[in-house]
């Protein structure tokens, strides 16, 4: 959607999208939500957008040691917090095996509700919002400790066609310059073992998240 907009409008749309993501997390009972999980879901919303017939907002991601991270999203959410549209719940610095980093949790701010209500009067916004709500609702079914890691198990993010999983800074293009989307292929294969049943896109999405959760749990236990 941002491709068709002027830079000023694109900023607005990006921030509106971010608020819709936070609203989805609120409705699923997941707020305050940690920034790592939020970036992970933002990535999954891009790779899964085609399943819901929605445009991909950002078709490129860099495979990084801490999972998907979008600097512009981080920039926007911090500005939204200053504007009163989001709220920073907790912020702290952390040091782990990967080095120094920060941990922050976010939720909707006191001024967000009227903004969201006005935005949801637009049909295309409502469709995106409904998709984000479904994403978070599916994420809520995953055990708490594994939600952060779910995006790392995604078929596109963890693909070995673009590079070795241990290689740093691998660029994965699933909708920027090319249309090869492994997640889309994977979700469309769901239901193959259920003879005679018909699955809709929502069920595919939820089943895919449960699959990601199962893989994340297994990986955590193996470490």
């Amino acid at each position: 959607m941002t491709d068709e907009l002027l830079p000023f409008e694109a900023d607005h749309w990006r921030r509106a999208r971010l608020l819709m993501l936070l609203d989805g997390a609120t409705r699923a009972g997941l707020t305050p939500i940690e920034q790592t999980t939020l970036h992970g879901v933002a990535f999954l919303s891009n790779v899964l957008a085609r399943l819901y017939g929605l445009p991909i907002e950002n078709g490129l991601v860099v495979r990084w040691k801490r999972g998907p991270f979008f600097p512009d999203l981080q920039w926007d959410i911090d500005r939204l917090a200053i504007m009163g549209l989001a709220r920073i719940h907790q912020v702290e610095s952390v040091k782990d095996r990967a080095g120094h980093w920060f941990r922050a949790s976010y939720e909707l701010g006191p001024l967000a509700r009227p903004f969201l209500e006005a935005s949801l009067c637009i049909e295309s916004v409502r469709r995106s919002h409904s998709f984000y709500c479904e994403l978070f609702s599916a994420l809520a079914a995953i055990p708490n400790g594994d939600q952060r890691e779910a995006a790392l198990q995604d078929a596109t993010y963890a693909n070995i066609v673009d590079g070795d999983l241990n290689a740093e800074q691998t660029v994965i293009d699933f909708g920027g310059w090319r249309t090869r989307n492994f997640t889309d292929r994977a979700t469309r294969s769901i239901g193959g073992s259920l003879e005679g049943l018909r699955l809709d896109d929502r069920e595919r999405l939820h089943l895919y998240f449960l699959y990601l959760g199962r893989r994340a749990t297994r990986t955590r236990r193996a470490i």
Partner: protein, 359 residues
């Protein structure tokens, strides 16, 4: 580096693992948008009915599930409560004797100790916190009923009653039982939710009545056949069927029954109601025959053991002739036909059910 063709799914996606998730988790999927209160309530209904299977819960206390858009705000409003992270998956958790706020998707909840057995006390508690207009489910295991309030606890006239049935497999008797419950508790008399009559006194149904009946019936079917699966509006080659009910045989989902819904009308929808046009009686006959054909086609295509056609009769006079006429065709097509007569007012119902005094 491997090429695209070599790894269709990118090399890390495990299709076998995915299939195993499909097999084990399918019955926990929301059947409608997760944010739709009705979808949350469907999942809760399944949860409660499944919990009541256990002997321990036979004498369980009542419990209430309220739809929540923001658990944090509800927590602040109620001054605390216990966060539940996996309401649907925590198999050891006892939900009875408590009030729960349930988030979209029914995974997250906030649980509080509230006496849910006394309706007045419950009403007061909700009223004080401005929660009377929240969609809600009130499970009363002792009375063996589950009441669904789609527009809140404001008015008894808007609640639907879903009987808490024991585990059911898909048989002719069990499908009949669901249709009977649905007819008696939801469609027999006019009500505001689900609203099926545009103007009951003038015999004018709402627009898209069939769709409204279908929506309401799906909740009753899903709670009754909670171990199986209920698919709505299944497309078939050259046809369509309203419901396909899957039961579990040796753990595997198997298509048990195809169910088609038809509405018999006195008048078509019209607004204002006075301007509504009469429905030609031949249209009702056509609808029944079409329904029988659809149910039969679904039985053959999907290999279901049973095929049902349920006609919800909104005509002025309660007359079975139309079904008697269709019976030979239904028998030939191996379709069970049922007619559920819908009274247009309480008085009309009383007149029809009054026992005539001996002359």
């Amino acid at each position: 580096m491997p090429g695209d063709d070599e790894f269709e799914f990118g090399g890390s996606f495990d299709l076998g693992d995915m299939h195993s998730v499909e097999q084990s988790q399918l019955d926990r999927m929301p059947t409608r948008e997760s944010t739709d209160p009705a979808a949350v309530m469907r999942l809760i209904t399944k949860l409660i009915v499944a919990r009541l299977k256990s002997k321990k819960t036979r004498k369980a206390r009542s419990c209430v599930f309220l739809h929540s858009v923001n658990l944090g705000e509800d927590k602040a409003k109620c001054g605390g409560g216990r966060d539940l992270h996996h309401l649907l998956r925590a198999t050891n958790y006892d939900p009875f004797g408590k009030l729960h706020f349930v988030a979209a998707g029914a995974n997250r909840a906030l649980s509080l100790s509230v006496d849910c057995d006394d309706p007045e006390e419950l009403h007061d508690w909700l009223g004080k916190r401005n929660l009377l207009e929240r969609p809600m489910i009130w499970a009363r295991p002792n009375d063996k009923i589950l009441l669904y309030y789609p527009v809140g606890f404001v008015d008894e006239g808007t609640s639907w009653e879903v009987a808490l049935a024991p585990r059911q497999i898909v048989t002719k008797a069990s499908v009949d039982r669901v249709l009977q419950i649905f007819h008696e508790k939801v469609t027999l008399l006019p009500r505001s939710a689900p609203r099926l009559w545009h103007d009951a006194a003038l015999h004018v149904p709402c627009d898209e009545t069939e769709k409204r009946i279908q929506e309401a019936l799906s909740l009753v079917l899903e709670s009754h056949f909670y171990e199986g699966r209920v698919e709505r509006e299944r497309s078939l080659p050259g046809s369509k069927i309203d419901f396909v009910i899957f039961g579990r045989i040796n753990g595997a989902l198997t298509a048990g029954c195809a169910l088609e819904i038809k509405v018999l009308r006195e008048k078509h929808y019209g607004d204002p109601a006075k301007a509504a046009k009469h429905c030609w009686p031949g249209n009702n006959t056509k609808a029944i025959n079409k329904g029988i054909k659809q149910a039969s086609a679904a039985r053959i295509e999907l290999g279901t053991r049973l095929a049902f056609m349920a006609a919800f009769d909104m005509r002025a006079i309660d007359c079975p002739k139309i079904m008697i006429a269709a019976a030979p065709f239904a028998q030939e097509q191996k379709v069970e036909c049922r007619r559920c007569y819908m009274y247009r007012s309480n008085d009309n119902y009383r007149e029809a059910t009054i026992i005539p005094s001996p002359s």
